[in-house]
């Protein structure tokens, strides 16, 4: 009886101690939790709620409209066109800037003395403001005044109105996107390349994998797996957010062939002040980004880490 009582008392005091520890733990976590809620979760929740209303920027009255914004959005020609244009843009920019970034990184890495110079040059576009550079590109590719046009004309290739041609406009924008991303991807690949142990190349030499292709295919490329995955994911998300070049150069023209998701969203929200539909598009945008991030976390990550 006394023994049982004693055990009971011990476990009671033990429970009290655990409760105190838990309380202290929560106390430590709370500030971070509040910040995450206020800064990260709350805005998303607000957008989610707005997407269920017909709220107009500056309006005093609004009402719930349920999922109407979403069903309108899925039937909206401009939205669907923006979506498909964005996907085309991503489909050009991601492979282009990843492959070029890798090629440049491998070439630059082989240099010893000039490595720093090349790194800086290729990284320059990353440091510039894309808005300002869009103006420069606009001029370079101008069909009557641009030096690139003069060049193609001199070479007998004719004239290209890149940003006026419905078939070329997305390609033109994508080239600027690639130009801007190659330097950043190069830096990431360079970091990945330096992490490959020298011994592996020595072993490959002795095993007979000493040609440029074999070294790349048997050592470099597989060892860059985790880096490549990271580069692809960041590039995809960056490409998905294309906005500056469209807003400055084409404004969705010609014939809406350069309408992209964020630009359409911006027009609906801040030119037409329709916050409800704009919020619905934002949610759609977030879903795409989330899908990419989840794909990385759950599928591909496991196959590229050794």
């Amino acid at each position: 009886m006394t023994v049982a009582l004693k055990i009971g008392r011990v476990s009671a005091s033990r429970n009290a101690q655990l409760r105190a520890e838990a309380a202290a733990g929560y106390a430590f976590v709370t500030p971070a939790l509040i910040l995450i809620m206020v800064l990260l979760i709350a805005p998303i929740v607000v957008v989610l709620l707005l997407s269920l209303t017909d709220y107009q920027l500056g309006a005093l009255e609004w009402s719930w409209v349920g999922l109407a914004n979403y069903s309108d959005m899925l039937g909206d020609r401009i939205f669907l066109r923006s979506l498909s244009n964005t996907f085309i843009y991503v489909a050009i920019v991601v492979p282009g800037s990843v492959v070029l970034g890798l090629v440049v990184a491998i070439l630059v890495q082989e240099r010893t003395k000039s490595k720093a110079i090349y790194q800086t040059i290729f990284f320059l576009p990353v440091t510039t403001t894309l808005i300002a550079m869009s103006v420069v590109w606009h001029f370079l590719l101008n069909p009557s005044l641009g030096p690139i046009t003069s060049l193609t004309r001199a070479l007998g290739l004719g004239e290209f109105d890149v940003f006026g041609d419905p078939d070329l406009v997305l390609v033109g924008l994508a080239v600027i996107g690639i130009w801007q991303l190659v330097g950043f991807n190069m830096i990431l690949f360079l970091a990945g390349l330096t992490a490959i142990p020298r011994d592996l190349y020595d072993a490959a030499d002795i095993d007979g994998a000493d040609g440029a292709w074999d070294r790349f295919a048997r050592v470099t490329w597989p060892m860059l797996g985790p880096t490549t995955l990271f580069v692809v994911v960041t590039t995809t998300i960056t490409a998905f957010r294309v906005f500056d070049t469209v807003a400055v150069i084409t404004r969705g023209n010609p014939q809406g062939r350069s309408d992209v998701l964020l630009y359409t969203l911006y027009k609906v929200g801040f030119q037409d002040f329709n916050m409800g539909p704009a919020s619905a598009m934002t949610i759609a945008f977030l879903v795409f980004v989330l899908v990419i991030a989840l794909a990385q976390a759950f599928f591909i990550d496991r196959r590229t880490h050794y």
């Binding site: 007979g208 000493d210 040609g211 048997r218 050592v219």
Partner: protein
Amino acid sequence: MSHLELTGLSKSFGTTKVLNDVSLSVRNGEFLTLVGASGCGKSTILRVIAGLEPQDSGTVQIGGRGVDHLRPKQRNVAMVFQSYALYPHMSVAENISMPLVMQRLNLAERLPLIGRLSANRRRVMTEIAAEVDAVAKQLQIEALLTRKPAQLSGGQRQRVALGRSMVRHPDVFLMDEPLSNLDAKLRVHMRAELTDLHRRLGVTFIYVTHDQVEAMTMSDRVALMDEGRIVQLGTPSDLYHNPSDLRVARFIGSPQINIVSGTTTAQGILVGEALLPIAVSSPAGQVVSVGLRPEALSLDPVVGQPNLAARLTRVENLGAELFLHFALQESGAPLVLRATLQDYERHKARLNAPVALGVECARALVFDAAGHRVDQASRAALRLEVPA
């Protein structure tokens, strides 16, 4: 199976001379160890032999054939790296088969998808798989063939690295500190396995280590290196009992050889008050270093035997034997003595006070200020050649 001949190898990195006119002849099927402190050039020799690093001057011959103009894969050497250098994205079987795949399939057949269309590829891959299985069986890693290196322990990775070397039947095995990443117990075990493997394969092994125990226990011959040169080349017992240089005497042997300083006289060498009757080639009045292995000292000198007065400072008990640490009465210089447990028990009582340690002068090694051997005693009698 081939002998290996290095002639006048030199190599510099910038202004640092890593190899300085190294010549070395390794017999067919020999287990030769290059031993030395880090930075002595031993790994560079290995890399030059493998063709991973071009030498500045000198030649490498394998089996009588000059290989200087050949690429690593054409020299038919295999190398085991300190880090094992296994391909982390490939399974154990793929790792081991890599040299054969590269040898026997052409570029088109090696391509990921297109290669599969080739009938020749299927035939060769079946052959290779059989050879990989055979090697895996020898190394007892059959059960691991489908695993990735990250899922293996250090010892298992070591075996896979060995397997990758063995599968191609190389003329020469090059091993760059292969045991240094293993824990102490496994290292002792792998030492035995490697010597066993060498005996079974009968191929020339060139083994690089900084661990003198590995050099002593595994090799037919040992080359001790310092500052890019081979200081001495000989059997392990040669290096231990008959070192030609103070650096060799210091490097080989555990515990380290005792070095006491003395002065040459017409009658022998004066160490403090004690006169050690050892004939030397140096003139009288020179300062020399007298090297005494821990077993050349005894606790009970016989009548008339030269002795050194010392007091006990520390006892290391290893079970079967003990290392008794003394300090010389006069100079305080440390001395280690190897004693059996019985010896120690017998003399324990009087070790509280300074004692006279008997010196077996026939085993003393004398070096001049430049580190060269100067005693004249013949060491031949002491050589303990291991019967072949």
